[in-house]
Symmetry: D2
């Protein structure tokens, strides 16, 4: 029996074991019984728990079989995040960033790091569609704000990318301006669709299908009562390294998947977007963004050479008007020494958002029959239940 | 007499004073008799003196009069720089960067800073055309290298921008993929066209028309004999601050131009590209790029809040193959303590490139009658001649 | 029963449970049966597995009871690391660094980041003794190399610190030049003494006594066969967050220690020193250093506001002579895309070094009766044994 | 006539030409008739124009003739800057930093960059005395605030250095704790002594004697009315590159000094401290500090490999209390787009402070007869007068 037929057998067996490949049966990690970290999630356990934040997707899935460049198959899309309900061009939010490994692109990051301001929606897509998305955001913004580039400053759109070329005809550049508009128009508060959607449609994490994931924390009042939310487009890592809340899930599952063809592990990346209503200035947001890297590491990333791991952060608490007669304004700022609960929240929310991106994604076959299996939730649930039982019992020591 | 008619009078008078507004009469600063710095220029006094470097432009000038958004007038374009004569995707050069003020964009800079590699041509254009250019480079590169995104890695194009909206219908996004292709196809070694061309078509420096400028130094053999070249797209500053080799040119000329309408000085930016054949690793190129900032400062920049001042640097001495069986290679590297002549060369070459971008640019009228006057070369030549005479005589002290 | 007497009871009970508080009975984590990560350790599982690296300590423990400032009790010391067996002033090694959270000091780091060179021994001590140590290294170096500051350049010593003030009379500045000399003279290759020694004497990690720890990896020949070693002075974190290879050790043990007075968790820091014989240039060492942060995160750090988490890295493969007639030299360099095994090695070695710093430390009582309990190895060993058994069985899912 | 006797002759002649080598006859550049830049200085044209800032020196000059290591001659000292009149440990000011070239040390900079706070005085001294000064500040601070390291956090002193080894027995480490105390106790508001004093005692700039210099700007009310002050310890550059407000002073004077032995130009450094009462947060102060680099460049620096060019900045407008019950406070902040006058002020103040450090320094002979001549003020005054006359006349063009 050759490797390929072994893979087929495994897929079959897998389907018997885990009959949960339909969207209705996908569950977020918390619904599987695992609460990561010390703090409580917000209402939707999503980046949209930060008031004013809106998320929308445009998902492009077309064709099957062999790759015919520019024809497909297509497994990609666009995710749009609005940091704030008002017109973000006029009412900017404070921003910051951190690059764990810069083998990737978040177009516009230089200006965020310099000015500490976010003045456009944030777009997530595949690597070779950054230009198209940037362009479409320029069009969208100039339509909404016709003075851009005349009476008022030009803008530099924020567009993050990961490489979905293992499943998607990436060089075909199937993302069009209309998809960017669609993602923007779909953007809304409340629950966020996760998994194989938007920019995350063709993404993979630790050899399992992944994509978009999100999570949030609402800190206790004694820590200020602020909300922190993270949304990731997750696309990195190797199965053997996967840990969920420390549980060696990857190591346990790896033998089942050893006959699966996997993409070269040097591919991959993650873009994380951190939102908060805590009043932070840009330097504090840089520091906050840095902590997301620790969450990425806990899942199993060693920040591989080829993995672009970039974090953007923003705070909605202070808005910076484009036009004002005032020179000096009063900014609410948290004392630095009170930021530790926010740091903790970012670490655990990033971890949970990545896990959610896997839990909510389903099996996907892309170009050339390349197949990314969904995380087997039944098995995972059993692992979690047993792990908790084991560590709550005396039998652990 | 109102301000506008004064301006008209001034323009007229100016034309009489300086009958050098046609391209044939524009001269580079060295041809006006001024040699900036201690080291000698290379053959063409251009970035192309670094063997293998090629430069091409696509210039878009259309229409006159009032701005009709999306119709024009158009004063913009694209400049393409190839760092190396081979296929840059397969034979990458070593790169580095420095951001003096990040109020701008050089898409792809994050990866250059992480990997220290340049693997695409470098494109310069206006702020709102970065997306289009990025996209076009993706198309160009995937046509030339069909394995991109399949057998081989994706790419992230390098696209730098300045804001030409005082003369150009920037929101009209008049740069198309064809212009990027044209600039790429025009790229060649040898003399570089300067002034109102390519990405620099609509740019302004210290209230004078500017655009693309370049300069180079060929170091003496005792300093290693290496070549350093700089190309700038220059678009920053205020007239009163303009100094050329220390001469207070701006202060002297300012009274003549006081009735001219000028753009808001908070606009502006400069992208500088530094090339060398000295064998430098990426960290050394970061340091080299930093020195370009000092050249920008000597012209009169204080790195204004809104001015994106970004420097990219590359060395052609070591090329890093995409594919190799070897794990360890031998890299030629200059001892750090021998880099000072290179640093000096970058400072003076940057200064001279900016001045050349002004000397070679001609008067330009753009949208809404906005007018950027050329640097008056006859007057400048007299200033230089007299200044030299003065400082060579005993009368200076 | 008040909190204090409860603590006493607990201490007593603890002693019965874990009769392994004498040095002879302390074991490294690998000797407790746990192998962290994918790669194999070097001969001594220590930073000294990188040929030429030497480590020495000077430990200062004096007095008991109430703090009488400048009198004691004293629980501190000095650790010295020599990156290379030759005279490091003449034969410099290539260096790099990363700051995860800069709430601390590694004096000299600015020059390492600029020059990418290490030219002095590396000293670790308490926060308020950085000046004394810096001074003593200057004396030591000028004695050995009398031309320093005359015919030859001055030097800037590398001195890292953590805050041991919960156990030590830190403001008493008990470290003297003689201790620095002692640590330097004690420096040797081979096994490294860990735990309550040298600069780590008074340090605490996740509320357990910690200090100096080390670990190494010798990569498989197919990955280049290079060695990576890490030495940490570890002093951060809270018990509830402590994980060892993902095992929730802190959460399991926390109830036993809840009546122990603990230091304010905002104190703390970690200095990690990464050594390798892989041929890396300085920018690559910066990237390598960054990966140590992920190992720190896996133990349970969220890089608290007050925790200075700083990483220094060096490579012994290329040595940079102070004097040379040559301008250009040939440097061996690993291709960046082959660095992933080195990155993995740093993550897992950092994790293991921190754990070793705890495993090898013993109970310590310092000023004012402040008490830091040793990690209970008997219990930990049981936890590890059972955890492995559990995850190797079918009962985990 | 050999070079040495030529130098003697030149010295003699020089003395005849410029009878202004006594302190009473030294004048600041503005008193020589040159006003650098666009904005007006504050009352004392000194860093102390920022209310609350105090400066003190301790100057150590001993012995003559040949260097006998540890005996002398000694030409060094300590300068202390207090950012604020209150106890800086309790009432911290906001800080930031920029490293133009990190071939030097400003101990404590890592924490300033992380926390954006300054909580100790700032000390300037020679390279090999950083440890002693750091230590002395610890002693001073713990005497004043006995809870340091116990109830309250430890501190990390800020100590900047340049290399004075061409004139001073640097390896003799002649700076003692008492000198640090003396500088601290001498610290006061009002006029600042410049030239061969304090940390600047043995420093040289562009081959002329230099040392401590300062300058300030009080912005016009329409720009916010804030004050910016800079103090430098200046020790870099080569005569041929020296420009003062663009005037090629070095080139003109160089022939007179060609027989003087000069130190190796790769030595050298500059530490600049920027103070302001404008309300800036730490990220804005980082940006402000960066502009000082442009001022350094205008004097003639190309940021030589061996030249440590480091800038520290602080704002006294917001003070951050060590202890507070509040979590969120209101911080006054200038809108970023209103910062340009502050940027201009920093560029021109840095330039003027460096020039003042030369104008106010006198001839100094140090070890082994090494001689650094004072800037010849009579000649300089003539140059300035004639230059102004020339450029105000029509003869310039």
């Amino acid at each position: 029996m050759n490797a390929e037929s072994k893979e087929s057998k495994e897929k079959e067996k897998k389907e018997k074991d885990d009959l949960d490949q339909n969207p209705a049966q996908r569950l977020r990690i918390r619904d599987l019984g695992l609460a990561i970290g010390h703090h409580r999630p917000g209402r939707f356990n999503a980046i949209t728990d930060v008031r004013g934040v809106k998320v929308g997707h445009s998902t492009i899935v077309k064709g099957h079989g062999e790759l015919i460049p520019t024809k497909g198959p297509v497994r990609t899309g666009v995710t749009a995040i609005f940091p704030y309900e008002n017109n973000i061009y006029w009412d900017r939010v404070v921003g910051g960033a951190f690059v764990l490994n810069g083998a990737g692109e978040l177009a516009g990051i230089t200006q965020v790091s310099e000015w500490g301001l976010i003045e456009t929606p944030i777009i997530l897509t595949n690597t070779l569609s950054v230009g198209t998305c940037s362009n479409a955001v320029v069009q969208y913004m100039t339509e909404k704000n016709p003075d851009i580039g005349q009476k008022h400053d030009v803008i530099i759109p924020l567009v993050g990318e990961c490489d979905d070329s293992w499943l998607n005809d990436i060089a075909g550049q199937h993302v069009q301006a209309e998809h960017v508009y669609e993602a923007i128009e779909n953007a809304r508060p409340g629950p966020v669709v996760e998994g194989n959607v938007g920019g995350g449609t063709g993404m993979i994490t630790c050899d399992f299908k992944a994509g978009i994931g999100t999570s949030s924390r609402k800190l206790h009042q004694k820590f200020g009562g602020h909300t922190v939310g993270v949304l990731v487009m997750s696309n990195f890592g190797e199965m053997k390294d996967l840990r969920i809340d420390g549980i060696p899930v990857g190591k346990v599952l790896a033998p089942r998947y050893e006959h699966f063809r996997k993409r070269n592990n040097t591919f991959g990346s993650i873009i994380a977007v951190v939102a908060t209503d805590a009043p932070l200035h840009s330097h504090q947001l840089d520091r906050l963004a840095k902590r997301a890297a620790l969450g990425i590491g806990k899942i199993g990333s060693y920040a591989a050479h080829g993995s672009g791991e970039i974090v953007l952060a923003f705070s909605t608490a202070n808005r910076v008007p484009r036009e004002t007669r005032k020179m000096v304004y009063k900014m609410k700022v948290i004392l630095d020494q009170r930021m530790d609960p926010l740091y903790q929240a970012v670490v655990e929310t990033t971890e949970e958002a990545i896990v959610n991106s896997m839990c909510m994604a389903m099996d996907m076959e892309g170009i050339n029959g390349n197949f990314a299996p969904a995380l087997p939730l039944k098995t995972l649930k059993k692992m979690i239940t047993n792990h908790k039982k084991y560590y709550e019992s005396e039998s652990c020591f």
